[in-house]
């Protein structure tokens, strides 16, 4: 190929263009890159990447920042063609900084992305456990118990006195940000100090033995993920490991968690049911008095790469846009928050099979799944709704909320971001 006469066509096409690429153009470029990769048109992919590279910047405007993470994910995908000897040396990969607990406390409150779910769930939990003197919360979440101080605080002020509170967390958590520099035990201890300070009887447990992850690199990812899954199913959702008691209200809190459960058919059995459904059924068997489920409202578990890119791009612009409204371009908290989102983008775009652990489904789809698996939705009461509204009023004015069927949905400038739901098993025994 030599110097193409099409360069004059190019200049023609660009005449009069001013400013930077807008979102629609970037999206198209990303799609072209992806489709070029999928159909082996490497040159085109390269060319598009080259253009994107000149737009992208992790410290630019939101579109530029978002593009930089997408581009990085695409490159990651491309470079995965061959595992190189570099792979075996885990130390070569630069590592995300681990946060302290107080930094994490600030992190989850930068934008109401997490706090929305915390508030809605805690309010629903508070209502559900009325009349109980003992509460046991099984916390399946990625935010290291940041949700619980406000609940403990509310329980402390209960007119009839606080219940005794027991919180259990699994000893394994999905390897995703935000990452802490202390153990779960340490987190539990601090929470315990706080509960003591508030005169709430408190106990904290880390459940289960570590899934034995052998140090040999020969284990396949498939084996590893099923180890983790078995661990969750058999050790965590296990009445005796949990030491369930009859007079205790059992609360199961799933925050950004269920998406990590595989949704394919369970191998080895001829049933149609997936791992995720099995997990939910096991939860049902524990007879919890409420299950709170919060997650991001986007359909990202699709096999087609280009639709993943589109959906992802048209969804994750939201936190980038929100952070832009009040943090400067080189603000470190903002950069870290965005890097964590970039981590998610990379998993969604660059990986397949069992390595792609981000299997998010939309709130509507998830709600249907819950109904199919025999759960009733618990509507959020007016009190909860006004609490959440009050919370959002304290944040930037783009944040809003709406009710969609059984869900409360956090919106940014009208676009869905996070959903919150509450469920009870059909036939719950009080």
């Amino acid at each position: 190929m030599r110097e193409s006469p099409q360069s004059s066509i190019l200049s023609g096409a660009l005449k009069g263009c001013l400013g930077s690429l807008d979102g629609a153009c970037i999206e198209k470029l990303l799609l072209h890159c992806a489709s070029a990769l999928e159909s082996n048109d490497v040159t085109l992919a390269q060319q598009v990447m080259w253009v994107l590279n000149n737009v992208a910047s992790p410290v630019g405007d939101p579109n530029q920042r978002l593009t930089s993470w997408f581009l990085k994910a695409l490159i990651s995908r491309v470079s995965r063609v061959c595992p190189t000897p570099m792979n075996l040396n885990g130390n070569s990969s630069p590592q995300r900084r681990l946060m302290t607990v107080t930094e994490l406390a600030g992190y989850v409150d930068l934008i109401p992305w997490h706090r929305f779910g915390f508030c809605a769930s805690n309010s629903a939990i508070f209502k559900a456990i009325q009349g109980y003197n003992k509460v046991h919360i099984l916390d399946l979440s990625i935010t290291h118990c940041m949700q619980w101080p406000t609940l403990i605080d509310t329980l402390a002020k209960r007119p009839e006195g606080p219940p005794s509170v027991r919180i259990s967390v699994p000893s394994w958590r999905p390897p995703v940000p935000p990452l802490l520099n202390v153990s779960s035990e340490e987190v539990g201890q601090r929470l315990g100090n706080f509960a003591k300070f508030k005169d709430v009887p408190f106990e904290f447990n880390v459940i289960g033995e570590q899934p034995t992850v052998p140090s040999s690199p020969c284990i396949s990812t498939l084996e590893c993920s099923s180890l983790q899954y078995d661990f969750l199913l058999n050790q965590v959702l296990n009445p005796s490991t949990l030491k369930l008691e009859d007079d205790e209200a059992l609360v199961i809190n799933c925050q950004n968690w269920l998406r990590y459960l595989p949704d394919e058919q369970n191998n080895g059995a001829s049933q149609e049911i997936s791992c995720r459904d099995i997990f939910l059924n096991r939860i049902k068997d524990l007879n919890p008095c409420i299950i709170t489920v919060v997650d991001e409202d986007s359909e990202l578990d699709v096999s087609n790469l280009t639709s993943r890119i589109t959906t992802c791009f048209n969804y994750l612009w939201i936190p980038f846009d929100a952070l832009e409204t009040f943090l400067s371009k080189d603000n470190s908290q903002r950069i870290e928050y965005e890097a964590d989102i970039g981590h998610k983008i990379e998993n969604i775009i660059a990986f397949e099979g069992t390595q792609r652990i981000e299997r998010l489904e939309s709130g509507t789809k998830f709600s249907q799944r819950m109904r199919n698996n025999g759960f009733f939705s618990v509507p959020f009461c007016e009190e909860t709704i006004s609490e959440v509204k009050f919370l959002l009023d304290e944040h930037a004015s783009g944040w809003g909320m709406k009710k969609e069927d059984d869900m409360l949905v956090l919106t940014w400038k009208g676009h869905n971001s996070v959903y919150a739901t509450a469920w009870v098993p059909c036939g719950f025994d009080d």
Binding site: V42, C82, S92, G106, T221, S328, N331, Q333
Partner: protein
């Protein structure tokens, strides 16, 4: 409720996802006759593909009289007033009715090209929303809070802020201030100050008024005998400082000399410093912070000129991948991977021992601006990439090293090892490549697609139906033509990624 009415105060029972709530006055705004191009588009990711996308001009968006009489051009702030006025023109009956019989859903885009809401898939659902957005984002900030000097473009925002400014402040024992109660409570629960106190739980005379602390603005702090050793106790979220006049108190005081010369008027500076020092974790090695912080602080403001030079280098791709593929050259690769982050991060090479690997890849830098390239030149160059096999700086410029090491990120996800099934890897990429080491990858990156079978363009996404003989560069120009007027490229920003977002699998092994 002072908040924006199309947000938190309105609840919408509709099941349409992404649908913005209707304005609470129930006004279906008529599009003023002065609107600019109305485009209708069907885009993936668009919440309501049937919605009509309306792009109003800046003048319209800023105008207060948005309902205009088509007969005499008189403007009104409210639709009802316009209708009342129209009656006065004695119109025949059929013209009196509003033309909008169709209850078509309308969404509005921002006219500002660079704005995120210029894209129809980011459109806002109601006229008030887009007007407020335009005003806030692109308008002049005419309203200023007297207490804290924050400025607002929209009057209602300013009013809302003034109501709460300085009214509630929660102060933690460690000195951090919060304007929101829930963030205060959460912080407090995990704060070292509380941990300290629990350790000294025997001396409880200071504790008697725990609830009093929470409810009112705290003026007294509970006695603690030693300053908390916490290094990173206060990364101040912007909301934490209700007014910029109240600097964050860093309790390290005398132990951290950089705090005194740096008056924390600029919030971002402070947060950078504290979070940098915080990267050491909660250990109390405060003695090392003094010197580190000052050198780091200094380098924060030193312009990093080395990053520019990285971009202009165009090392051969082949070299890179040869190096990557063979372990004996690993040191060469490692060296180049470390130069990139060094030039781009505050933590310079000597900082690595202090911050540990964790601090190395921080992206806190002001990238040296690239020489601006015109969009035309950029795309010409891009088209040449396929033509000249030697122009292989593409992925190197991306920091391919970090992405090569990113493939070790496979480990992160699985926790262990690499995918041993390389065929599935290649399949996942959609490439029917046998995985035979560096050479095929080299070919891949140099863009000799003969390996992959017949050349064809991939632009059916746009329905262009390009002929197969177009070839890749032809495909690219067609792509650019199709994007047409909306495409331009700003080359001002640094192009490389200073470090990837890889994470340790530490969490995997924790909890014993």
């Amino acid at each position: 409720m002072p908040a924006d009415m199309d947000n938190s105060s309105v609840m919408n029972d509709s099941t349409a996802s992404g649908d913005a709530s209707a304005s609470s006055s129930g006004n279906q705004a008529a599009a003023p006759p002065t609107s600019s191009a109305k485009k209708k588009r069907n885009l993936p990711g668009m919440p309501d593909p049937d919605a009509e996308v309306i792009a109003l001009s800046p003048k319209t968006l800023l105008a207060t009289n948005r309902f205009v009489c088509e007969i005499c051009n008189k403007g009104f702030q409210r639709d009802q007033n316009l209708q009342l006025h129209r009656r006065g023109h004695n119109l025949p009956w059929k013209l009196r009715q509003r033309s909008s019989k169709e209850v078509k859903k309308r969404v509005y885009v921002c006219p500002e090209l660079t704005c995120v809401h210029h894209d129809p898939s980011r459109a806002l659902g109601d006229l008030t929303g887009i007007k407020k957005h335009f005003c806030r984002k692109h308008g002049e900030k005419k309203w200023k809070c007297d207490k804290c000097s924050k400025k607002y473009a929209v009057q209602s925002d300013w009013k809302a802020h003034s109501k709460i400014c300085g009214t509630r402040e929660y102060k933690c024992d460690c000195g951090t201030l919060f304007s929101r109660r829930d963030s205060f409570i959460t912080h407090r629960a995990f704060c070292d100050a509380l941990a300290e106190e629990s350790a000294k739980a025997q001396t409880v005379e200071a504790l008697p008024a725990p609830t009093a602390d929470d409810e009112e603005p705290k003026l007294q702090t509970l006695a603690s005998s030693s300053p908390p050793p916490s290094v990173a106790a206060q990364p101040p979220p912007p909301a934490a400082l209700a007014s910029s006049a109240l600097p964050v108190q860093n309790p390290e005081g005398p132990e951290n000399p950089t705090q005194s010369p740096a008056p924390p008027q600029i919030l971002e500076e402070t947060s950078v410093v504290t979070s940098l020092t915080g990267s050491c974790g909660s250990s109390s090695s405060s003695s090392s912070h003094g010197s580190t912080s000052s050198s780091v602080f200094a380098s924060l403001f030193a312009s990093s000129t080395t990053s520019g030079s990285l971009q202009s280098q165009t090392p051969e791709f082949t070299d890179l991948f040869r190096a990557v593929a063979r372990p004996e050259n690993a040191s060469e690769v490692v060296a180049s991977s470390s130069t990139e982050p060094i030039s781009l991060c505050l933590a310079t090479s000597h900082g690595s021992s202090i911050f540990g690997t964790a601090g190395q890849e921080r992206r806190q830098y002001a990238p040296a601006p690239q020489p601006a390239m015109s969009a035309t030149a950029l795309l010409q160059k891009a088209a040449q990439i396929g033509a000249a096999a030697t122009n292989a700086s593409l992925l190197r410029g991306f920091g391919i090293v970090s992405s090569a090491s990113a493939s070790s990120g496979q480990q992160e996800w699985s926790g262990r090892g690499i995918e041993s099934d390389s065929a599935s890897l290649a399949a996942g990429l959609g490439l029917g490549l046998p995985c035979d080491g560096g050479s095929s990858l080299k070919e891949l990156m140099l863009g000799t697609p003969s390996v992959f079978g017949p050349k064809h363009t991939t632009l059916d996404l746009l329905g262009l139906g390009m002929a197969a003989g177009g070839g890749p560069s032809g495909g690219f120009s067609a792509l650019m033509t199709s994007i047409g007027g909306g495409l331009d490229v700003a080359a001002a920003a640094a192009a490389s990624f200073g470090g990837s977002g890889e994470y340790s699998g530490k969490d995997m092994g924790r909890g014993s």
